[in-house]
Symmetry: D2
């Protein structure tokens, strides 16, 4: 059972509820979010129902939800959500293209990639300044220097920024530059990071863990939501199977399944799932056709020199074809390509 | 190294080659197909090259192929194949819809399903008379009675028949009714069955084993091809993973991967991969968009009473929507929906 | 619900039951085994209970079993079974070592391997005459020639023979030579083969499918049992996962799990699961320690020239160490190493 | 290529090497550990070899290692390591039993579990104060209160403490109480946490990610080692597969494989892999028999009321049997059960 408090609820309102729940033999977990406080109740639901919680001061809503995830479930939130990233919508009738380099390397490379992305129809720029790498000897990203480059490129191109954060301790810094925080596959169950992201006041893109079930993915989203942040976009990026011909196995069914279980938008990463350039276009088409709310694609001006995942980055004719696909295919599904902000953004 | 003989090659021609190869320290495996004989050579390739095999009487071609599969590889067969099933094409610029009941139950049910399939745009009728079931206590199919029903429905609707065979001993019987043989996921490495199907004089649809790699799938196709039958269509039907929300995980990437490795057409089964009716439409769209050469879909006039896999069979509005999708989406990919034969077929 | 008939039951007894069940709205599947006939009932169990089936002539037992597998379930068969292979026990307080070459290649190699096996403590000889191979270009076994070699080696060493059959059409021939039929991982759901093996009058070793659940494995065993043959030994041989350091992932937990669900003996194949010689000994120790009823190990006098799976065959000091392990470790678990037959067997 | 500096190396020594490497066109990553500094070189190895790095001041060793992990590889560290946890050895000829409650709940429950563990032969106490839970609504552990309970129980029983840390920000606090830090399966690729653990001055137990390859596991260990901490114990705890009868699939082969690739000790968690009490004993025997350097087992005085993973905790006769197994089976492998410290520890 979950109690959602009104924005005006006071600390006293909250304390009263906690005490009341304790009296009834239950436990109340208070999570103070940016815009509202949520109280999760653990214990005997029937006992709680005798408490008339809805009538208490400061209570906006009391949800009784059978799914193990509550706030992100579609059970009490039938319409699907639209998340706004600095004015760019993800979800609803939109199909949003996010594109950019896997890693920020130099100002020139990042700007070139952003212009390529924009020309192809992207309304958001992706780019990693903090790269979680399997090997400690691999390029780990430029850190804050990379964030500054992204910020400059946003000023130049008007594209809001999506960038990864890998440590709870970095969330505040990254959020001071980014329009949307990305949590990567290896950190899907880094609960401290999820909670910090839930309090950062930025929309969050949550990639599915490479061996996570859809239920666990939604539970991870619930950790973010519990902190008061429901601006969450789920990103399917391939799961681990025995197949060796592709880097991961894109679980295309996860898109409609997650969309039915949750009101959150669901996008697809065709670059990291296949891991090969010649799979990006077919998988992008499949993602749009299956009904994804967006796709996130690696582009790079010179893939052969990329410091990270060059073999999957689009360039040249492949990127032109992507532009054609995103311009035409979404209409088949009753969707419109989300537009980039008209005026140049000059910071968050 | 593989030697393809001309249709006119004599037994003497073949014996001479076998002897010659033995003299060179190698071994020659002769497989006599319906239309041509193939000789696979195992041993020292460089030694074989000194034999000037191309110049021998009866030799049509000598292929040196690095892939572990030879005849189905695209290495020496750059253009993609079109397989004709009683005049209905699979592959090339076509997108072919195969539809029908999971299992043949009664003449009425089968005819009703066939008419539904045809109305939705199907040009081939699927329907199982021999059902491989995990449980020995589950409905195992009507056997030859089912084949006769299929044959009658073909006469009535003009739709050629695709039906499964599960035992090498049944191949001849099934082939006497069917226009295309289907080999199911559990039998993908039933090599005796593959070889029998390779000699049956019918096109074969080979479903991917539920835990097979793409390479093993192509190797299984090679078993069929070795017997002289290259009219093979590959069918991706989902693989086994840890995810429990779907029956299997549709490996959508397997379509472009297999199409690049092999010249054979590749189709998708959205019904058995998802295992749920509400996944069939999104997965069908994804399959067409990724570039599949066809889709094979379960339909049933009364899914709630179906003896097999009712929960995934399309009916009513869902089927209308499938009709709309196959009528419009293939054009996005430069493909045309394959048409059913104009005149009523009256048997094989 | 399953009706087990007495050995003396007549055809009339059986027909009466089938008719009675039909009258009650159900269906009866009759399977005539070597020693007894079994009738599986499908339909409304409560309706069947009104029929007083136990009292009918020819009925030995009526089993109501909730597991999807009936005859192999431990629900109505609490004590664990011991299977006798030409006098050599598998199960109970025994730990049985089966060893021999992966493939029969020559009389000399097979005899040498058998003598190695016997010296190491093996009481049964394994050896493949029919080899299911992923590639049609790989060595497929010697066929009946191989069976004759095995038979000669049995006469020489006294070790009963375990050998694989891959096609239902070959079962009778193979059973005429073999003491135990082996069904391999690729054929675990080759239901025609399972049924033929169920009628062959020989004990059967059923390997787990490489991506099969334990439940499916027991269902496959049920197909054999249904034909009247309960002399089945289950063999865990590794499952397919994402891990690449080993050929397959030995699912060691499957041994105690299957032993609790089924009364059938469960053995382990440490050679094919790991796929590497230096894993065979640790995995053999683990298998014995976990409580397996036996292990089946590849040995070869000259592994470097083996036509099949040489890299995993034991020889020399490794085999000596295996002998030491099987001589000492089973006692830790309250088991005794099964002994080879004392007198030389001279044929089946 | 990896340069290991002497303990006496100065910052100037390090800076000189970094400059020299840059001059040669490479990049040098400096990681300052507790006891020594390590410099990883990325670039052209042949170029580096001309630099005569071994002769530079402050350089202890220069390692050229072909495995992607360097410091934890057995390539240049042939003998297997023994890690000492407050005097208790893990590795070498020892077999170490770690036992205790999954989660610390109360002082009484923790002390009772510790006494049960000690009586069974455990020399180290496990117990979670920070619990990473899939659901945000599940019990998350007592935090520092739990650490204090563990500390008190250590004083009472003399058993050093192994406890989990889930956030880099908590490492210093947890290390102030714990004798060994545990990093759980969900955090195996939480690189910030790994690096913090590498600097904490405590041995680390690193659980394998539930879908990680053995290579990725060793790479994760390398992140810890890079910070100067080689006191790492690897813990296999089951991987994710399609099998549903067990919570995870214990990859028993991972023990010998990891022991051959790395010099680090490898232990097994039979409780979390199987997830069922009746699997703990067979899997413990299998782990010891395969050659694991230790096992870590859940015990609880009242499993039915446990706040976490009660169904897998040992108690009563099962625990007595575990005591018997650890007292007798290791000798079969030439190992001795590691003893608990003789005198009562009174804090770290």
């Amino acid at each position: 059972m979950v109690i959602v408090m009104t924005p005006e609820a006071t600390s006293d309102n909250i304390d009263s509820i906690v005490d009341l729940v304790a009296t009834a033999g239950g436990e109340a977990y208070v999570t103070r979010g940016v815009s509202r406080t949520i109280i999760g109740l653990v214990g005997d639901v029937q006992q709680f129902e005798t408490l008339d919680l809805n009538a208490l001061p400061g209570v906006a809503d009391v949800l009784r939800i059978s799914a193990p995830y509550k706030l992100v479930s579609r059970e009490n939130h039938v319409s699907r959500s639209v998340v706004s990233v600095a004015g760019v919508p993800i979800g609803g009738d939109h199909m949003t293209l996010i594109a950019g380099p896997c890693a920020v390397e130099t100002p020139e490379q990042t700007l070139a990639a952003a212009l390529m992305a924009k020309a192809a129809g992207a309304s958001l720029l992706r780019g990693g300044a903090y790269k979680p790498r399997t090997s400690p000897y691999a390029f780990q990203g430029l850190g804050e220097t990379g964030l500054k480059i992204l910020s400059d490129v946003r000023a130049e191109t008007g594209l809001p920024i999506v960038t990864e954060v890998v440590d709870a301790a970095d969330v505040e810094l990254v959020a001071s530059y980014a329009d949307m925080l990305q949590i990567g596959t290896r950190n899907m169950q880094n609960f401290a990071l999820l909670q910090a992201a839930g309090e950062a006041g930025r929309p969050v893109m949550l990639k599915r863990g490479m061996s996570s079930t859809i239920e666990e993915w939604l539970m991870a989203a619930e950790y973010i939501a519990q902190r008061g942040n429901l601006d969450i976009v789920l990103c399917e990026r391939g799961i681990r199977t025995f197949e060796k011909a592709t880097r991961n196995t894109l679980d295309i069914s996860a898109v409609p399944v997650a969309q039915r279980l949750s009101h959150l938008p669901v996008i697809v990463d065709p670059s990291h799932s296949g891991g090969k350039r010649d799979l990006v276009l077919p998988l992008s088409r499949a993602a749009i056709a299956v009904g994804a709310d967006g796709i996130i694609v690696d582009v790079h001006p010179e893939p052969e020199t990329a410091l990270c995942d060059g073999p999957q980055a689009l360039v040249g004719a492949d990127l032109d074809e992507l532009a054609r696909v995103v311009a035409t295919l979404p209409a088949m599904l009753g969707r419109t390509l989300a537009a980039a902000p008209e005026r140049v953004a000059t910071g968050v």
